[in-house]
Point group: C3
Chain length 424, copies 3
Amino acid sequence: MKRELVAVVLAGGAGSRFWPLTTNKIVFPFFGKSLFDFSVRDVLPKEVSRAVIIAGRNNRDALGAVGLPIPSVTVLQQKPLGMADALLAAASEIAGSELVILIADDLTDSGLIKRVVARGRTSGAFGVIPGWKTERYFPGGYLKIENHRIVGITEKPGEGKAPSPYVAISGHYVRSSDVLLGELTRTGTTGGDDAYERALTTIAQHEEFVMEPYEGNFVSLKYPWHVLDGMEYLLSRLASHRGKGVSICDHVVIEGNVYLDDGVKIFENTKIVGPCYIGKNTIVGNNNIIRTSHIGSNCVTGFNTDITRSYIGDRCWFHSNYIGDSVVEGEVSMGSGAVLANLRLDDGEIATREGDHKIPTGRNKLGGIIATGVRIGVNASVMPGVKIGEKCFVGAGVVLSVDLPEQSFCQQKTEYILGKNTKA
Amino acid sequence: MKRELVAVVLAGGAGSRFWPLTTNKIVFPFFGKSLFDFSVRDVLPKEVSRAVIIAGRNNRDALGAVGLPIPSVTVLQQKPLGMADALLAAASEIAGSELVILIADDLTDSGLIKRVVARGRTSGAFGVIPGWKTERYFPGGYLKIENHRIVGITEKPGEGKAPSPYVAISGHYVRSSDVLLGELTRTGTTGGDDAYERALTTIAQHEEFVMEPYEGNFVSLKYPWHVLDGMEYLLSRLASHRGKGVSICDHVVIEGNVYLDDGVKIFENTKIVGPCYIGKNTIVGNNNIIRTSHIGSNCVTGFNTDITRSYIGDRCWFHSNYIGDSVVEGEVSMGSGAVLANLRLDDGEIATREGDHKIPTGRNKLGGIIATGVRIGVNASVMPGVKIGEKCFVGAGVVLSVDLPEQSFCQQKTEYILGKNTKA
Amino acid sequence: MKRELVAVVLAGGAGSRFWPLTTNKIVFPFFGKSLFDFSVRDVLPKEVSRAVIIAGRNNRDALGAVGLPIPSVTVLQQKPLGMADALLAAASEIAGSELVILIADDLTDSGLIKRVVARGRTSGAFGVIPGWKTERYFPGGYLKIENHRIVGITEKPGEGKAPSPYVAISGHYVRSSDVLLGELTRTGTTGGDDAYERALTTIAQHEEFVMEPYEGNFVSLKYPWHVLDGMEYLLSRLASHRGKGVSICDHVVIEGNVYLDDGVKIFENTKIVGPCYIGKNTIVGNNNIIRTSHIGSNCVTGFNTDITRSYIGDRCWFHSNYIGDSVVEGEVSMGSGAVLANLRLDDGEIATREGDHKIPTGRNKLGGIIATGVRIGVNASVMPGVKIGEKCFVGAGVVLSVDLPEQSFCQQKTEYILGKNTKA
């Protein structure tokens, strides 16, 4: 008799690197759904009969509301101490089961996890781990492979030092939760954030772990600009659609796959170049250009706006703006002529700051990261990679090159030179 | 035998509250005509045989030129001391007559004054006063009514203290000018600016005054932003029209009632959403959007301009501008990217200053008030409610949040950080 | 037997007045060709059998590459000491010939030089000089004429002091180079930069010089804004053309003579008003307006750009810009909302600086003069007549009213007023 197959969903990260966007990134909205729907719900193999979601204090409430077609329970991880700690926190819920371990902020093609589970159940292997083949260095756990067996996982080996081109990603199948929990207990969680990888490496000495190779899409939403990567990937899977009550005026050009949700209105002389998603009841104004972007529901893009490769959430208002390679979370308004610039004058890589650290983003094109409730004045310019916290106001004409903490009001100091106009 | 019915037109206000716009507000232009045409000429009942226009020093010359279909005379009121003083200044011209008293900066539906006069002449009442029913507090004279008779007028009672919901507005019918002049003489004009209302209250003790109720449109042009109220009202009465020599290029969309005067040209990809008026020989450029606005004659709106709920006078030049909820008197030019912002970041009510006083405008959307001959540089931003006096220059990139007196030249102090470009 | 007719091409000027544009102005590109092609190659009479090009150190290499359909040799003029010095530098190459002397930065109608040479060879005159009739004062050499003979040339006589309305321009025919060289040697080159004119005046005492009157176009490219004059003239001669692989999207309007070179793409809702030239593989984006302009090859004009009466070289990138009456040499990019302003607020004549001197440009409309490799940030404003040297960066939001030397990085000093947002 087979054991019960349980999906363990790791969703307990603090999300602080995702600042200024929501700490509930697991439910970050895409297409009127949430990241969770794409990273977990859509990829669940049919053999899974129960889900155990491990949440943090920051997102337990939000995760309670996610819907799955199978019974699920949410377990609280007291502190964001990594995967090993998370699994141990859920020990009583997962004991005596087969496991498939999902990372809730990782996006993969919907068939991958299903293949992993099918292989785990039909082969004799103790574990199956998806190995994402990547050319470019990725700061994750790399698989060490000998004779077609995984013999270890090296966490963040550094560029050029990876034992293989394969990164272990979401969707680990483990035949026995008890073996894993036992080893995790022995390993302990105090030796660094790679305790899980070390435990797996130990088990792999006597049990067979095999790799399910994967060359498809993989996006891990750690930093806020990863929203753009996630969006790009999810848009690539989107089909064209015209919802109910969609209205499209004359001289509108729509190219490629464009999903227009119910009640969308598009005014004259606007061009939409897919893939694009436009959410419910959003109004795309006259003379716009929208390319490769996600626009949430109940937005108004106004006259003459250019939105390119950007994520826009719900209830945003624009008006003659340029928004390039930017993330605009929701309830944001921008005055006429305000720009989210997306390119340095020297075309160099755009870095952001995280406290005192400079974080390279790996992007030469990156605009602003704008949290919920921000308002930006007319003719303001937000420099590439700048992050603006929730409910900030940015005054007219400001050239903003620093991040703004939540609820700031930033104006530019103005000194007038006032004289008599002798030329009038 | 009936007495002669004389229209007394009160036009002697100093107009200083109308700053920075013309002190001759009585002839403020709408649709190639003037305020006077709408507030006086169009509403005159046919029973009126003569008009006495009471002008101030500031506008006597302009008022001499207004045209009426009946004989008229202009009387000078030496100082702007209110209605009582104005009527006494015209005493010799109006003695022995029936009167209908018109306030030249008040706009009402064209039938109201006619109804007032008809009722005055057919009923036995001594006087008829139009009572405008308003939900929102208006700083005017409120009617006190008992047993269907007006028993008094309370000037600016303060919010919540009005004796009725009815404000006395332009168009008072009085059966005997002599009774009125006598009482005004007794009352005197030194006891405050409500001498007229006090005199009427006294007369009402023994003569019958009745109210003609009115729930139509009423706009009193006291402050410059009232031009927008007047415009909105007058636009609502405008029918569609295509003048001689009008030229409309391809891909132009015109919706609603739009009056295009002779010689108007509209270039490609422009949308006009009525009600709108476009004056003679004005050129509306490519890729514009014009909504609910008045544009005077001989303007050029240039490329990519957005004019929304705004009054634009004659001979203005725009170019890639946003002009929202603004008054632009005439002969104004704006450089590419200049914006008249119309909304505070907090969506709050917009106030203006009058000397040391802060004046609430009652508007959450209000742009700039720009007098004749102003020029605004490229990428300049004028903050909501800012007033700019005649013949001012505003430099490129200025973020203007203060009013400018006539003939100012305002630039923003600029300090460059100049270095070697090591990235080129 | 006739002597050999040699074309002497004067191309040895230092070109420093042409700053910030290339010192090789003789090969300044127009329509994928060069100035030289229009000023020399196209105007060469068929009777010319050989060309002697006199180059300076700054442009000898570039001039070596120009192509002529007849044998040619390039001679180095050591220093830019004027026409007399240049001709003497080429003495050994031109001895014993008939001459036609061309000035390589002067543009004339293609028939003029041919008429001059034909007249020189058929009449008995020793010399023929084209006399350009001009109403407005031009700082050149004016012809003094008596009894249909030229009796002298007065160099820069000053306004109102010209001996005739005729300016001596490119294309002097001289029957004997030896007579000219002899007189130039006697005159010497040390007495000022009018040595050539003085020598001609002396020869004219005993030899017959006649004038070929000319009322056609004449442009001398001395200062960088003369590129606009040259462009305007050359555009006026351009016919409509659609190259191979040209693609024009829907709702594009093209009026007048527009030359679209191979591979040009024009996106929706764009209007092009000729005369215009668009170079190979250039992409004109959506919702643009392009009027009376030259755009080089491999440019992208982006969304919503307005280019009016401007010269744009190769490989430029724009995006929601206004570029009016400007010269943009090549490899220039401008961020969204950046503007090259072309009009003073007082509509006055625009002056530029050359060291400590203020140079009037004779233009009321003149934008920026932007050299190769410049990058301009979003919402920056470049004031009329400002010159920016090669490889400069101009930061976002800068209002630039000074010239920038090569490879400068110019930012505007920004001081933030940062507070708590109590209104959010």
